[in-house]
Amino acid sequence: MRWARFKDYCTTYLFVAPAVALFLLFSLIPFLKIFQLSVFDWDGISSHMRFVGMGNFITALFRDPSWWISLRNAGVITILALTIQNFLALALALIVDREIKGKNFYRVVFYLPPVLSGIVVGLVWNWIFDGSHGLLNHALELLRQPQWARAWLADPHTALFSVAVIHMWKGFGWGFVILLAGLQAIPRELNEAARVDGASEWYIFSRITVPLMLPVFFLVSILTVLGTMQIYDIIVSTTNGGPGYHTEVPITRILNAMTGSNRFGYACSLGILFGLILLAVSMIQMRLSKWSSRFS
């Protein structure tokens, strides 16, 4: 009997064995490995690793201004995405949630940019923002405003903002789809009952839609923050961090420390610091989300 049960467990483990093996090798071991590497000074190749303790973290926090610049840049893009991109997504979702014609058409079109890769989106917009022959500058010339024309992605004043525009163009459709799904999960009867009782549109929005949607709002904002802070593909295909450090973001700094200057330990410590920041942000937003679900 015990032998039969043992055999039964063994065959069951065969079901999960491939998944567990891949998970251990490519998720768990690398995850533990970065903590080990972060306390060493190591060039990635040589067998000699010099123990430096917290040295890498101290360098990152106090002696590497480019790291703080990269965090600030990603933060600026994140704030723009949280406000402009999500408000646009919400406005569109509220409109399309009403019974209007072409609902499916809008949904298909708005979700088109998010299915494209960051590389493709970056390359196409590169050509639109091009300094000498780009579409945007041509349009400005047609509007007789040539003094505004510039190399949008190479000009220190506009580079970060231009990257943010590209990122928001790619991202709003995604927020739109999730917000629309949330809106459609609200029972119609609630709105109709309120309307029959004579409630105004604004009253319905602020007293029914917003409280019920709060968990979805928090979800969209948490995912926007996590996604935007880790922006990389669009940067690589447009500015690659330049001009100067004006569009450097954390992932480009980590990669630069790793493959650019062969400081693997330092790159790991940057990764850990960045992970902690993201974790803190998600914890705060999960708390808020739990708090807000009391309303629904």
Partner: protein
């Protein structure tokens, strides 16, 4: 008043005005809504139209000819990108990686999800929580250690070294989606198959999997998009051009032919044709996938 009146009595003039006012307000709202949505939709589509039209111009006309509809379309740009730009190789590689990773994710995650949902074994809940938590915790630095590991295993600059980590990347969502799906399936069918003499694997293969087709479709589309669009890992793993997928090839092409916009745009167009086709065919599943992935977290 005769009973057989055909037309209903006319409402008082005041009410008629109120009806008109109500209709006018509704039309204005609809007009505003459509203008707003159509503007945004045009903003979504125009860069792509512009990309296609740029891909049909020549190096000499692309900077002066700003028309969207190209008079003399230079379709040979696509031929040059496909051959001399090496996009045929990149395309084949991307296709291969996508198919292998999608099949791998579906097979491995469905096996595990079935075990987590239906079978009993020691350590089941611990393993499940451990694997799912990787989906929740952002680990932006783990690609450094992954790179070190691939170098140690001599998997750097190999196809397998690119495929295995990506299969692993799809497992968390796959197991999660399929487990919730299996949990909702009625147990009776499987019991009947068990009584008829099927073993665990046969029940999984011939009863549970055929029923799980909708969830598998969502998973397949989702992973196909992710693998096709992946760049960071491809950049770290590959040094040889003949192994690179499309996204990596595009950046390589941009680096070496910085100003050849027509060819570059032709390459970009080639790279998005399969994704757009997949998107239009499987649009329903994609929307189901993002909402399932996001709202159930």
């Amino acid at each position: 008043m005769p009973i057989e009146t055909a037309t209903p009595p006319r409402p008082a003039p005041g009410i008629q005005y109120r009806v008109w006012f109500y209709r006018l307000r509704r039309w204005m709202w609809l007009g505003f809504a459509h203008v707003f949505c159509l503007t945004v939709a045009a903003g979504c589509l125009f860069p792509l139209v512009w990309m296609v039209s740029s891909s049909l111009k020549t190096q000499s006309t692309i900077f002066s000819d700003m028309s969207v509809l190209v008079r003399h379309a230079h379709w040979e740009n696509y031929y040059w990108a496909w051959t001399r730009g090496h996009f045929s190789q990149y395309f084949f590689n991307s296709f291969l990686y996508t198919v292998v990773v999608v099949v791998g994710v579906i097979v491995i995650s469905s096996l595990a999800a079935y075990a987590f949902s239906r079978l009993k074994f020691p350590g089941r809940d611990f393993l499940f929580i451990l694997m799912i938590s990787t989906m929740m915790i952002p680990i932006p630095g783990s690609f450094i250690a992954l790179y070190v590991l691939l170098v140690k295993l001599h998997l750097i600059n190999t196809r397998i070294g690119y495929i295995l980590p990506q299969i692993n990347g799809g497992l968390a969502l796959g197991i999660f989606l399929l487990k919730t799906f299996f949990d909702k399936l009625p147990q009776d069918l499987e019991d009947a198959a068990r009584i008829d003499g099927c073993n665990k694997f046969q029940v999984y293969r011939h009863v549970a999997m055929p029923l799980a087709k909708p969830a598998v479709a969502v998973l397949a589309v989702f992973n196909a998009l992710a693998v096709w669009n992946e760049y960071l890992l491809a950049m770290l793993v590959f040094a040889d051009r003949h192994l690179m997928p499309l996204q990596r090839g595009l950046i390589l092409f941009q680096g070496s032919h910085i100003t050849q916009y027509p060819l570059l745009m032709a390459g970009v167009t080639i790279s998005i044709i399969p994704i757009i086709t997949l998107y239009f065919l499987m649009q329903r599943y994609i929307v189901a996938g993002i909402t399932a992935g996001a709202l159930k977290m």
